[in-house]
Symmetry: C2
Subunit: 260 residues, 2 copies
């Protein structure tokens, strides 16, 4: 397929490369920032443009991968070409896009993508949605050229996936950083925690999180929790977080075991 | 070495097996629950006992791996044998143990261990501490027979490691469960999130968490955060958690980039 990438952020970069590697032709990369456009375009053999009036209409698909609030204005500008337009956002309804461009769809990659890190796109879940069966089918086939994990997901489900991803990825990563800072204050390296972090994630690859929960809150070990809160006495925000998460684990555990 | 295991929980089970596999002789396994003692003892070729008065004093090392509040009472009972005693707790000072048994030390495995899951002990960080140089050196050599990641750590540092492990492991696992529950309510499988969870942990194996933070809070994307809070309107506890974690990410990010 002939594909035009609108945007040069993390998703645009990784998805653009994945489509290029799968044999598709990337026609152009657009970014308001010419340097960003040029960098990505260079890597995927495309033309870089920094003005939407330089868009080449000879393409089969526009992939809009920009900030959520810029998706619809950008689609409005591209609508005159009457081509298929998809966005890559977890939080934007398909209806909002199809209202300005009837041939509309979504390719939402459910993964944390950073430019500084390579990712094997073949394992990235791609959630697709199309305005009709033909577009859904086409997007499904297209997504399957870059990933073995393709899911049909409607806009309500995608919104929930996006929220769930914050809990499963963004918040855990923040907590890794809290742990790192605690170690640094005692002159210990983050390296010591890396096996623990990896094993915690690997455990839930074959089990459900609730089956493998460990720690003081899971054991309802009040004296250890009190000692931990005492150690955080200079960090009221972390104390609050520790308390809230521990109480939630205790409550959930009680619920599961039918003790309450 | 001749080793006696006191306890039959997750740590006792995995560490006992690791020492057995490394060629040490496990003399006895003690547990108040004979069935638990017998099960572990069977796997590691030891004798099972359920009364401390049946302890065989012909051993080189007692490893006490029981609940924190039972460590010192158990050590008091074993002190008459005048052998080396170590505990495996992150939260218990070496001083508390050496007060009842002068030949004292610690072997603290910094890993999440569940009986339902095998673990490659060779990658588990083991934090050791001894009351004197001889014992420290002996424990270091002993730990190196089962792991390539052995660290000398004092009691203050170990307490911080234990707290950090709650943030790096127990809390993220709880959040995985929150994400799973959110998906289940929309008839989606936890399977969809597994690649994201794994990649989040793999990312910090080569980077620092602060370098690879992603998500709405990192972008200070207020409209997405408001939408997420709205989606959680029936779950005030999750709303509070979402808010607290998001504000912490925003604050940290501002601090790092010097914008505030």
């Amino acid at each position: 397929m002939r594909i035009t990438i609108i945007g040069s952020g993390n998703v645009a970069t990784h998805m653009g490369a994945a489509f290029k590697n799968a044999g598709h032709q990337i026609i152009q990369v657009y970014s308001r920032d010419m340097q960003n456009a040029a960098l990505l375009a260079y890597h995927i053999g495309a033309e870089a443009v920094d003005h939407l009036d330089r868009i080449n209409p000879e393409t089969d698909l526009f992939i809009i991968s920009v900030k959520d609030d810029a998706i619809i204005p950008t689609a409005q500008t591209l609508a005159k070409y009457q081509k298929l337009i998809v966005h890559t956002s977890g939080a934007t309804d398909l209806g909002a896009l199809s209202a300005v461009n009837p041939k509309a769809g979504v390719l939402y990659p459910l993964q944390t993508l950073s430019k500084i890190r390579e990712v094997d796109f073949n394992t990235v879940p791609i959630c697709i949605e199309g305005v009709d069966n033909d577009i859904t089918h086409l997007l499904e086939q297209l997504a399957q050229t870059i990933s073995k994990n393709v899911y049909r997901v409607n806009s309500d489900q995608r919104r929930v996936l996006h929220l769930a991803a914050v809990f499963a990825c963004n918040f855990p990563n923040y907590l890794y950083g809290v742990a790192r800072d605690l170690l640094a204050k005692q002159n210990m390296e983050f390296e010591m925690l890396r096996p623990l972090i990896l094993e915690t994630a690997q455990k839930v690859q074959n089990h459900l999180p609730q089956e493998v929960q460990t720690g003081p809150a899971e054991r309802n070990d009040q004296s250890t929790m009190a000692a931990h809160l005492q150690m955080l006495h200079n960090e009221p925000q972390l104390q609050e977080l520790y308390n809230l998460l521990s109480q939630a684990i205790i409550k959930k555990d009680n619920g599961r075991q039918g003790r309450k």
